[in-house]
């Protein structure tokens, strides 16, 4: 039997989950204070997902600077560096509004990359 610890990121309570596994299957989850912790642990064990946040180049009035961006939803942890690979190739032009999609299917994650800031 193996024991893993996880930080549940569903809410700020940040419960420390203790997950016991055997032959690749979860046999026990503890440390959660609500049912969402169970769902989180199951997902985290089988296919963990992460929100990717970074920056892309943005051009405004001939000047180049950085625009904060993120994946709209969490992407599979395995794809995080593929997402970063694509992020490095992007340049957008102002104006951009917060929440606006700046790139689709980033890193083949079928997820959108959105702007985190309004630049007008």
């Amino acid at each position: 039997m193996k024991t893993l610890t996880m930080a549940c990121t569903t809410c700020p309570a940040s419960c420390k989950l203790i997950v016991k596994t055997e032959n690749g299957e979860i046999v026990e989850i503890s440390g959660n204070t609500c049912p969402r912790g169970i769902a989180f642990a199951q997902k985290e064990y089988t296919d963990p997902e992460r929100l990717v946040t970074s920056t892309v180049l943005i051009e405004k009035d001939g000047k180049e600077f950085l625009l904060p961006v993120r994946t709209k939803t969490p992407v599979s942890k395995k794809l995080v560096f593929d997402v970063m690979e694509d992020i490095r190739k992007i340049k957008v032009k102002a104006p951009v509004r917060v929440g606006e999609v700046v790139y689709e299917n980033i890193g083949n994650s079928s997820c959108e990359l959105i702007a985190c800031k309004t630049v007008v």
Partner: protein, 480 residues
């Protein structure tokens, strides 16, 4: 064309000599290996203008220190650098110490230093209420002043450059050839400087430079010292020393020109001249030293610790080593300039000029010599009315870059664009105090980088902290 004088080394001694020689009709160049003046021993210094009660009568120090100290107030006025009268206390804790105080009092008399008196315990505590209650008395030298050694060196150099002295930075001397009577060639990586006279003011490396000219009269060793910069919250107004030992004046608490305080410094001889590593034991010694003077001293007021080395000429009675080489005529040593080097610098410069004259250099006063330097505007010292007027003249005065020291953008732009202006983040810091405050450049460094990049026309990731190898950045995060 041949130079009359090549000065090697742009510390306080070299720049003071450049400032002195600028008064005469000479072709003079100062060679500095660093990217700026005063980047070694000079900047690692407390800035106390000791009035001269300390040196043993009969030494060069005893001659030059009191004289140099007396020259400072006028120089500060002419060259527009900050000077702050503070006085010095040499605090006695024992009868032994009180004897030392008497000896210093006697020294002061012989060295011709005025304003030095003995305080009893009560008078001492009235002057400095927070001082150690166990202090039995003190020597009080009323005429001690404070300067910022870097600011003084920059002022000396700027005035020298305005009066025709050449300044060559990033020029490390690699070799010196004697071609005949009073005919040297000083070689650097890429250039040659033919000259009649050489003044060796290369600080900790002065003996290494002399060796290049075949001179092995003396040897320099470094006396390493830790220093600590404190925030502006120490409850004292006078420079405070314990009683001195033969090697060092001891660990002092120093109110600086800028309103911060310093603890300086420890003293240990080092074999490695490059070693400016500060160490834990040394800093603990500083804290103990400060607590001995002010028992309530709070170490959390330390905002920076660093170290430096004073150049000590060995087997020279702890004195300066200033003379024409007996074996190489025309080669003047201005070496072994340890404490009180800052205080003595202007007198050393005059002394070196007289040695040059004795050696055959004709000193003819320059007709159009300008003794004055327009000081940079120090925004934080102005009244709100004056600040408002400046901003209305140029809005760049209205943009604060360094929040701790209230330095506006325009002050930094001016520091970059002056003769011998700032080229690096540390160059800006030393000229404007941007980055010297309690946040230690956490807020302003990125803004200073931006201004340097714009004013010098270089990409931001090429801006340096100091030397070429001190890159701050490894490139851009995102680039297509």
């Amino acid at each position: 064309m041949k130079y009359d004088v090549v000065i090697i080394g742009g510390g306080i001694t070299g720049t003071a000599i450049a400032h002195e020689l600028a008064k005469y009709d000479l072709k003079t160049v100062l060679l500095e290996k660093g990217p700026d003046v005063a980047t070694a021993t000079t900047k690692q210094n407390g800035g106390v203008i000791h009035p001269g009660y300390d040196p043993h009568p009969g030494t060069l120090k005893a001659l030059l220190n009191p004289k140099g100290a007396r020259m400072y107030p006028k120089l500060a006025e002419d060259l527009g650098f900050h000077i702050r009268p503070t006085g010095t206390l040499v605090v006695a804790y024992s009868d032994e110490d009180l004897k030392t105080v008497d000896r210093l009092l006697e020294n002061a008399k012989i060295n011709g230093v005025e304003g030095v008196v003995k305080l009893n315990s009560q008078e001492l505590h009235e002057l400095e209420p927070h001082i150690n209650p166990e202090a039995k008395g003190a020597l009080y030298a009323k005429t001690t002043t404070m300067v910022d050694p870097f600011e003084v060196a920059v002022a000396f150099m700027e005035n020298a450059v305005e009066n025709g002295v050449e300044l060559q930075l990033n020029e490390q001397v690699r070799g010196i050839e004697k071609n005949g009577e009073q005919d040297f060639t000083v070689r650097t990586e890429n250039n040659e400087y033919p000259t009649r006279f050489i003044v060796d003011a290369a600080g900790i490396h002065a003996d290494d430079v002399a060796k290049m000219a075949g001179i092995e009269e003396y040897q320099i060793k470094g006396r390493h010292g830790n220093l600590a910069v404190l925030d502006k919250n120490v409850p004292i107004k006078t420079v405070m020393f314990p009683c001195p030992s033969p090697d060092t004046k001891g660990i002092a608490l120093i109110p600086t020109v800028s309103g911060n305080f310093l603890i300086g410094s420890t003293a240990t001889m080092r074999d490695d001249k490059q070693d400016v590593t500060n160490d834990k034991v040394g800093v603990e010694e500083l804290i103990e030293g400060a607590k001995l003077l002010i028992p309530e001293f709070d170490p959390s007021s330390i905002i920076r610790t660093f170290a430096g080395q004073r150049p000590v000429a060995l087997d020279n009675d702890n004195d300066f080593y200033i003379k024409e080489s007996p074996t190489q005529k025309g080669f003047i040593h201005a070496a072994g300039i340890q404490s009180p080097g800052i205080a003595s610098a202007p007198a050393i410069a005059e002394y070196v000029a007289s040695l040059l004259e004795e050696a055959g250099l004709e000193l003819k006063k320059k007709e159009n010599y300008n003794p004055y330097r327009k000081a940079p505007t120090d925004f934080s010292e102005l009244s709100h009315e004056e600040q408002d007027r400046l901003i209305k003249e140029d809005s760049r005065w209205g943009k604060i870059v360094c929040r701790c020291e209230t330095v506006p953008e325009m002050e930094i732009i001016e520091a970059i664009n002056r003769p011998n202006g700032a080229r690096t983040v540390d160059g800006v810091k030393r000229r404007t105090r941007a980055g010297m405050g309690r946040c230690q450049s956490g807020f302003c460094q990125s803004r200073v980088v931006d201004i340097l990049s714009r004013e010098l026309g270089i990409p931001a990731d090429e801006v340096r902290l100091e030397e070429d190898q001190s890159k701050i950045f490894s490139g851009k995060v995102k680039e297509l």
